[in-house]
Symmetry: C2
Subunit: 408 residues, 2 copies
């Protein structure tokens, strides 16, 4: 008995049959005595289809009009789902962003939610109805449609759960939960029953697509429990909650990796104050995100700078850096688009020494050379040659005992 | 120089290329010094696709949610068109129904426009922008999305033109204008240069699909000139305007026909007061529209009642009438689903005797038997055997000189 916000992703509403199945699942939750609010994504593939249409007209589609276009995806979902819900005997009523209204800033394509008045939703709930809310969309102070960016429906769901004081936010997806690593690479990957917000945040930053990063930030700030689970099964998934004692006992919760990486090195840069700014300003001005940066000082006031960017930005970044290198009198620019990043994440690291050393030893034992290292309080990332990705992931997963159980 | 509302139908925005062509056409109008407001339909086929989706979930889709669903069609059009307009250098800005807002009653699927505030549109126009308005949609007093019914974008365009005090409402479609008859049946059909609101209203009632009937009523009430023309050519189309002297000289402006007709006869009905209500109430209660009705009195307080319905309603109507006939003691029910209705329309009829006689004679000269007749001030319709449809249309078109020129 409580108030539950349930969000269903694009694959969960990909076709009529799945929409009907989701309606049955929602009915079950309602029949168990809960109040329910539904948040939906666009049907799988729809957002990409619309983006293609837009790009066939404008290479860089007008941001305001692109949001008007993309918002139709969720609009279709909530209308069809509300019909399906009525067919199974539920009293459902759809809500678009402007009808609640979900108030955002005017940053089209990456808007942030400012406020969600709850009067209309609460009125609907207390009348016994199930509000079916379009994810991903809001309106700005001018009344223009905004969208929250990829995965934005997760944020809509968590923000709604917080605004309504819900007991739980359930995120339904096409996988059974958060895994200790990618099951496609490591057969021994296990579903994690419980994970802290901080760890989930690191995993999301490292490219785990199961939850959108801003939704985790939002949940962490307001301590809203998230239950990530499969819409195709009744099995419990992964609870994303506040850190507790049991979690601290676990050194490493998950191993993750990213192949979308490329490395650029500028050698023998005259080491003067402001040189880093000179190199990185034009790169970030071109909307290229720089991830890891390492600086090695050589003899004679010369320095080497190495950094990583997304592989899709590699060529553009190389062009920019080549130009800058000449301007600042650097000797040489070298790049490598065939690298990968493997990371281990765990709140247990905070209180345990030697986790990093263990990681380096495991990689070394398997003959894997570490090219770059970056650490946070609960995460260690190593850049390696791309061809070792699977080997590294499996070795770390086994080495930190993730193939056994959560208690080490 | 003036303010022109231009409405483009589904075939005019059916794909990206056509949308881009429409943008170029709008630019031409703007470059000629006019202010322009655009109204768009959904891309051809999209509304039907959405209806199919809805019907695969609910046989009779929930009206509120169906409107939420269907409104996405025009939303996609205005977003894509605004992008295309920007690509050709226009300052375009899209408006959804709720953003203007186009205020309607809450009759989902057949809403009527109550009011259109023009502040936002006028502000956009005076800033040099081209408002691109979603046709077919509005919002009701609750803030729910409504739609105006099939062809509703025509009504949106005319209502906007009236509200803005525009000089002209141009309706762009896939035909060059209004024709003296269907060119598919009669090779000698000619485009009509100018037609009165009243005649256009009759033609729309008789099934001519070039203009939605409510848009003509709206234009007539507020004397808004409509220019119906092709979006694929620069040729002028048909002006729909107030009746003038030149029109009165023309006996017949157009010949039209409908094959979507069926006839039902109830014979030897005891002729008591209220008998017609007893027969027709259950028919109209079943949402079946009765078109023509003829009553013949026989000897001995018995009467025969003959009426027509849409052919698609024929079987349902027969079932109902069979039941009623037994209740009221009628002798016999007979039906014929293979009839057609041919009509001639012209404001000139008002002041000319003998038009009806001429029509009957032309049909008779071609061996066509008239089964039923119905007339209005500017229209005569005859029900005939379906197999004579083409023959009747060609004979009337030639007989009234429509293959020559407008002055008879």
């Amino acid at each position: 008995m409580g108030l539950i916000v349930q969000k269903f992703g694009g694959t969960s509403v990909a076709n009529i049959e799945r929409i009907q199945n989701v309606a049955k699942r929602v009915k079950k939750t309602k029949d168990e005595g809960n109040d329910v609010v539904i948040v939906l994504s666009a049907m799988a593939g729809e957002t990409n289809r619309l983006i293609e249409l837009a790009k066939s007209i404008q290479k860089a589609p007008d941001p305001r009009e692109l949001d008007v276009l993309l918002a139709t995806g969720e609009q279709v979902s909530i209308a069809l789902f509300s019909m399906a819900a009525k067919e199974v005997g539920l009293k459902a009523v759809s809500f678009l962003g402007y009808q609640i209204p979900i108030q955002t800033d005017p940053a089209h394509g990456k808007a942030r939610i400012h406020e969600i008045p709850t009067e209309k939703l609460k009125k609907a709930i207390s009348s016994g109805a199930i509000p079916v809310v379009a994810g991903f969309q809001g309106i700005d102070p001018e009344g223009d449609i905004t969208t929250l960016g990829r995965g934005g429906s997760d944020t809509t769901a968590v923000a709604l759960a917080v605004a309504l004081g819900a007991d739980m936010c359930e995120i339904y997806t096409d996988v059974p939960g958060v895994f200790t690593t990618d099951p496609n690479i490591c057969r021994l990957a296990r579903k994690i029953d419980k994970i802290s917000y901080e760890e989930m945040l690191e995993l999301a930053s490292l490219g785990a697509k199961v939850l959108e990063i801003r939704s985790v930030e939002f949940a962490m700030r307001y301590k809203m429990p998230i239950h990530v689970r499969s819409s195709f099964s009744d099995e419990p998934g992964t609870m994303v909650v506040e850190e507790d004692e049991s979690m601290e006992k676990i050194l490493v919760s998950a191993v993750t990796y990213s192949r979308n990486e490329a490395r650029i090195t500028i050698s023998k840069v005259p080491d003067k104050p402001g040189i880093a700014a000179k190199i990185f300003s034009p790169v970030t001005d071109a909307n290229i995100v720089v991830d890891m940066i390492i600086q090695n000082t050589r003899a004679g006031d010369l320095t080497d700078l190495t950094f990583t960017v997304a592989r899709s930005d590699y060529e553009r970044a190389m062009e920019i850096v080549d130009k800058v290198a000449k301007e600042i009198g650097a000797e040489r620019v070298a790049g490598d688009p065939h690298i990968a990043k493997v990371s281990i994440v765990g709140v247990g690291m905070k209180n345990h020494a030697g986790v990093a050393a263990k990681m380096f030893r495991i990689l070394s034992d398997h003959g894997i050379n570490i090219l770059m290292i970056s650490t946070s309080e609960i995460k260690i990332s190593c850049v390696i040659d791309e061809k070792y990705t699977e080997l590294a992931v499996r070795a770390l997963h086994e080495g930190f005992g993730l193939d056994k159980n959560n208690e080490q």
